[in-house]
Point group: C2
Chain length 615, copies 2
Amino acid sequence: MSRRYLNLISLPDALATMRRAFPPGNHVETVPLHMAVGRVTAGPLYAECSVPWADIATFDGYAVRSEDTLGAGDQRPLPLADYAPINTGEVLPPSFDAVVMVEDTWDEDGSLWIRKSAAPWQHVRHAGEDIRAGELVLPKGHRIRPFDTGALATYGITRLKVRSVRVGIIPTGNDLVPLGVVPAPGQTVETNTLMADAYLTRMGATCRRYGITPDSPDLIQRALEDAMAENDLVILSAGSSAGSRDFSRDAVGALGEIIFHGIAVRPGKPVLLARIGGKPVLGMPGYPVAAQTILREVVGSLLAWWGLSPESGEELDVRLSRKLASDLGFDEFIPVSVGRVGGTCWATPHPRGGGIQMAVVRANGYIHVPAAREGIGAGEEVRVRLTVPPERIARTLICTGVRYPALNELANCLSDAGYMLHCCNASTIGSVLALRAKACHTASICIPDTGTAWNDLVLRYLPGVDLLRVQVTRTELGIASRESLDAGTVESLRFINRPKGSSARIFLDAWLEGRGVDTGRLTGYEHEVRTPEAVTNAVSSGFADAGVCPAGAARAAGLRFTPLGHESCDLLVREDLAGVVGVADLIRAARSPEFQEQLRSLERHRAGRAGDKSL
Amino acid sequence: MSRRYLNLISLPDALATMRRAFPPGNHVETVPLHMAVGRVTAGPLYAECSVPWADIATFDGYAVRSEDTLGAGDQRPLPLADYAPINTGEVLPPSFDAVVMVEDTWDEDGSLWIRKSAAPWQHVRHAGEDIRAGELVLPKGHRIRPFDTGALATYGITRLKVRSVRVGIIPTGNDLVPLGVVPAPGQTVETNTLMADAYLTRMGATCRRYGITPDSPDLIQRALEDAMAENDLVILSAGSSAGSRDFSRDAVGALGEIIFHGIAVRPGKPVLLARIGGKPVLGMPGYPVAAQTILREVVGSLLAWWGLSPESGEELDVRLSRKLASDLGFDEFIPVSVGRVGGTCWATPHPRGGGIQMAVVRANGYIHVPAAREGIGAGEEVRVRLTVPPERIARTLICTGVRYPALNELANCLSDAGYMLHCCNASTIGSVLALRAKACHTASICIPDTGTAWNDLVLRYLPGVDLLRVQVTRTELGIASRESLDAGTVESLRFINRPKGSSARIFLDAWLEGRGVDTGRLTGYEHEVRTPEAVTNAVSSGFADAGVCPAGAARAAGLRFTPLGHESCDLLVREDLAGVVGVADLIRAARSPEFQEQLRSLERHRAGRAGDKSL
């Protein structure tokens, strides 16, 4: 263990070292034009022919000499002796310098008559008007756009040299199973190479994924040798276990020189760069979000250095909606959701961690906290790199608070209206404060239906703010237990608890208080879990005897249920933002009978499934 | 002819009519995950499994009960009786609620000893921490990003339903030959369907290109019937001749109902929309830039209406560097190059016209002049839609003036330094005025080496502006003729001329004045052509007897040459912008010996080729 990360280097140092070690080479391939979109030209492209190739007519009519038409007019029609019929696109015969449209002429006594004089070069496209043979069409380093293909084809270019980097990607690790196989306990589906392939292909690289190699230095070494021969860059994608990273290091060390191992970046620390036969080998971490960070910041940076042109996201300066802590000495990348509330763009962070892929899926961008910063304060300006097209931000609705399941359905409803609902986790107080700062469009809260909760949890933090409260769902909570609660004293029960501020905790505290129980002496009271399922799991497995959860969860787990009260899951909207586009749609959708009916039908569906399960 | 465009409808009306006629249908296909990047989800996607699927250890060590560890400390090591060895990623056995790292324990007397108490759930990843089975991963209407694939795979989703529109594209026209065939005179290479395929595929459509169908209503009708059966939308891509558009109309009219024919949009007017068997058929104009406009504004709009998510460019508000006229009643789209000069972003228009594809290739965006506007004034703010990533704008250098060939080579040199040199055509005065307004980084001018030209053409328009003048090339100009000029009087010669303000014109005028010739009586003096090649072509073909061109052009055409003087092709830079990043690189590159040597070697190469040709 000890040899790992002894010498973490900084991200800027790592990138500089990598560039010095691997200067841009001559990575070029020739592709047919229809495969060239998104690729980057390896050299300048010159027109093979002039377009048009000669002076041509732009209308059907007659080629004439403009000087012969001088003086023609409505009152003075002129006959032309010398002319030639010509169709659109045909070449103007020598000695003629204009075209008259067929509609402007008539035939009489064997002559062509006109009523208008023709200007020199009238209705003529000059040779080379679009481009001349040998002229530059595209300089080198140009990323080919769809419409460029039409121009290149017109100018006689049907195959072209583009920059090319062949990337081999080898997944390693005994714990990995391929996509499509259902993992046994302790196994992980190998998904990082799929993601690497998708990402690097979009950057213009040509990727090849190899089969899963077990944790054996010999086998990894053999796979590496094969891949090095076929590619310009090889990525070893480690399984999530520590072991496979060590085996990668051993295999790489045996074949070549390790340049660095470990970058002070989060997520993404255990990254390795080596040189084998002059080519780079990169050991990518196994946690998926760590792998993404390394693909973007390290591999992407190398490919850009080698001349590929990444489809990078747009940058936006926004305000941070809540404080973010970050360790000094680490470059940190944090997924955020950006939305425009009133006139200000706000970024709200999602949870960090190499294993939380959903944070990246839910986010529409990320921020980079440089190693020299210890964190960023609430309300401070930060730069976000977007992972969606920037025009989406205006149609993004930020919902801060508890991500209760009905919000999923609401997100689907809003997607029909063209809005993206982004739910960012926060405690009830956190979401109410975001509402106060106008840093979100809506706050999603779950509070118990007691006389005081609404005042205690919401109103006291929002003095003078007019609120709209939309009830989305209402859920019955109570105590789930294996045995009847009457069987013994409350003090003899082992509890499983929910966090402070949750409705379940508030109901439990009130129930215990009603029975005069000292919570400090209650076994398991300090044992907090984050989900209702964790409560029912703990009770079902015998780890605890009782815990508070929704009636539905207790039913689904086949547990007894002692009702305590109801919880209301609401959306709160500031009245001064209720008329804003998007927010109005949100309120309308949440109140619509269709949405409520959809929730009820899902509820019935779930109850039905739970019923099946208990059979 | 007369029946065409009788009822031009406005672009907004055309789009509204199209949307009403073709509401979004249920266009869905199922694709494997690795083919899903860039596609749009047809419905919500829910996780098939929880991740992690159970509570798992995040380190190698021992599963323990946190309550058993209370009170352990450096001064008070504790032995544990009940524990279980566990590795990273393994499931926490029931009844344990924490993991202690192997480094923090030791074995003694058959017991496991610890020196630190463990917090509940220490080193444990909870089941469903990333996502819980049945939770929403992506709502419908989401365009799948590369990193989304990893998450979807992890959550058990290996195939998914995406929005799908099958587009059939039929090229029609007797004048068309397929890509790769060298066109005979009057023929055109069929490139519009290649471009349509590339563009619509990037939007997420599934395109099928059919073979070229000749101008025959019967054959077009048959091709249409086949394509309608296999696709959701069919595009008839007309050849550039008027005839093939009429045949399309007849064929479409015979099979279904024509909804409109002709939109008041430039370029792009002759577009046709029809309904056959409930499906849309679109007749696309033949001129390539007109076809692009219709693909973007009409077909793209329909596909977006049907739920595909276009990769549309970023919008930017910029100032227009020169006046643009536009006809009332037409929505017009004009390619522009955008660059940031000093602190201001400027857009400089490129030439318009359905056949000028290079204008679009050279541009990095376009502006839309709505039908109600008669034009836009110089300096006015306009909105540009970019066709390159926005971060490129900061590295774009705008060169306004004469596009002399050496600028191509300069563009290649600058591409190595990461800069895009955009050359926008303008007269000498136009480019000098752009420099005065700081609307370009550099002006490219070609002026005769006479005593007065520099003052007359440049300095008088830039009073008080300090200039850097970089000579890029110097060319000898003179009169090209078939016979010796001494053969007759000057008045008996038929001339071909270049436009006012050109060096060739200035030299010719001075030469004629020296001989006391009245230009008003000179045959062909008013006959202006735009390129040196047009001069030598006219003289070679006998259309004219003499004209001014560079020595090299006359030599290449095998004509006699009477020298008149030299022309200097320069770059002008304002001294107050010379230090700006990019501009400094431009000056350095233009003055570098490498660049000058490259120009000389190209010159030798061209001379060699011209020599071959004359053999």
